[in-house]
Amino acid sequence: MHDHLILRIIAKMFIPFILLFALYVQFHGDYGPGGGFQAGVIFASALILYTLIFGLETAMRVVSPTALRILAASGVLIYGGTGVLCMLRGGNFLEYSMLAATPLAGQHLGIFLIELGVGTTVFAVMVMLFYGFSGRKDPSS
């Protein structure tokens, strides 16, 4: 993949925009269409594109499998932690209204944290799947 000049240049141009769009979808999720699932997948697709162009080893230097495992776990922990925090503040599990002074601010903060957790996990799991499949050697060859 060293001489595909056009592919490399185009990919390098596109990847920042894909990442930016993912962040937009992530943080715009409370007001319009979007949210953690979609943002996580878009974010992962940027990294997968990078892997396709520059190879698996390079990509693993950018985000290592260990980091992905930690990200995947911490996403779920963020989600659960938000729920538990609501409980500690006197509400039910995931009752966001309890998170801040006013229920409205609480709902905003709650859904923001939840979507952050979802986005992190979805991104990490998607890339993990891709690494997992593309990293295997064909035993017959």
């Binding site: 495992r69 930690i70 995947a72 776990a73 911490s74 996403g75 779920v76 922990l77 659960g80 729920g83 538990v84 609501c86 409980m87 509400g91 039910n92 599990f93 995931l94 009752e95 966001y96 209204s97």
Partner: protein, 495 residues
Amino acid sequence: MNAHLPVLQVILPLLGAPLCMLTRSARLNWLITIAVSWSGFVISLLLAQQVWVNGPITYNMGGWVAPWGITYHIDALNAFVLIIVTMIAALVAPYARRSIQKEIDRHRQAVFYALLLLCQAGLLGIVITGDAFNMYVFLELSSLSSYALIAMGKRRRGLTAAFQYLIMGTIGATFILIGIGLLYNLTGTLNILDLAEQLNKHHLIATGNRTLITAFAFLTVGLSLKLALFPLHLWLPNAYSYAPSVVTIFLAATATKVAVYMLLRFCFTILGHGALFQMTLGKIILLPSLCAIFIGSIVAIFQYDIKRMLAYSSIAQIGYMTLGITMATPLGLTAGILHLFNHALMKGLLFMTMGAVIYRVDSVYLSDFRGLGKRMPWTMAAFVIGGLSLMGVPLTAGFISKWYLVKSALECGWWPVAGLILIGSLLAVIYVWRVVETAYFNPDHELEQRSCEAPLSLLLPMWILVIANIYFGINSDLPLSMAARAANLLLGVGV
């Protein structure tokens, strides 16, 4: 904190799983698993006590009330099933460490605990939730982790068994999804209690609405796949015999029970109190149940892989549970629900002895049991007691549920069915006896001197189950009264 117990029941294992993913140390993960499983058991006991004293508990997720939000609803039935699942989980957790050191590759051991906790979270979620779609999501959570768990063994046939289970399980889950979708289409609600109310209010049950019938056809077939009712059981023998022992113990004692619980929920709580069920679905399930008892037991007699033999015996035992359910009388349902508990006790015990045999002998073929009665006296004694319970010998737990099953069959006037139950027990005598005979009366002189009893961490959970099998056979008041209360609740009589 008491008010939050219902949600803690599910999120403890659900958050324990990512914690296990963070570390690479199998030992640390094992400790997390033990802590989570035991606290889960304590929570389920506390919940059952609350339900027993104060009646059903409702917990609104996120503070949204019933028909709009997801609620956890705990009544006599699911409090009982929660105890079954958490009890087995709590016993399997200490057992797991030594067993998987033997049966699972070193680098996979840490992940194993994460998957086990996820599976546990899924099963507990199915039981505790009061929302039909939520049930589907938790069902898939537990199924996906069990596919991965089954494939973890060192033998390659575990892979094909897991794949087969994946195909059948996904078809079953998709059928359930269709059923839930059609119910939502009819009523516009997903809350189980609200579903029952809406169906009643619009007279959909009485008039035999066609969409409703279709929905229940899909649900019944999907659930039968999941609980391995006779013609749809093909995934079960392979999955149970090639999975690592710990996985087999856990799944055999809990997964099918939870599917039976789902069947009870849909057919009784949603579909009114049994009258309609008895006329239609009950009649349809009756024949497969009887076939399961017979064909499962007969096929079990001809198995030489003892784990596989016990898997076929599980299919037969599931037949007993569904048979009790089809009667749709208080006594029959009590017997069926009680058998959920007793079967978890005895099959958990029997598969635990298999795990111990694999740990020492590395094989569960019948010929390898020669002389084991002398070499592993405690393990084989546990097997004998588990076997007696499986046959339904008096003073063991298995006797109580068989007794009530026969009694309710007679009460319904189903004489032939009562006879068939007894013949099924005789078949169980044959297949258990084969193992006992080989272990005790077929000595292997070369190896006889070397005692190779299983380590204490395997024996201890096993013998706790032995004691439970005997205790609940002598003094069955506690599970019996809980099962009776659950049955009355489902039939809507005298609560």
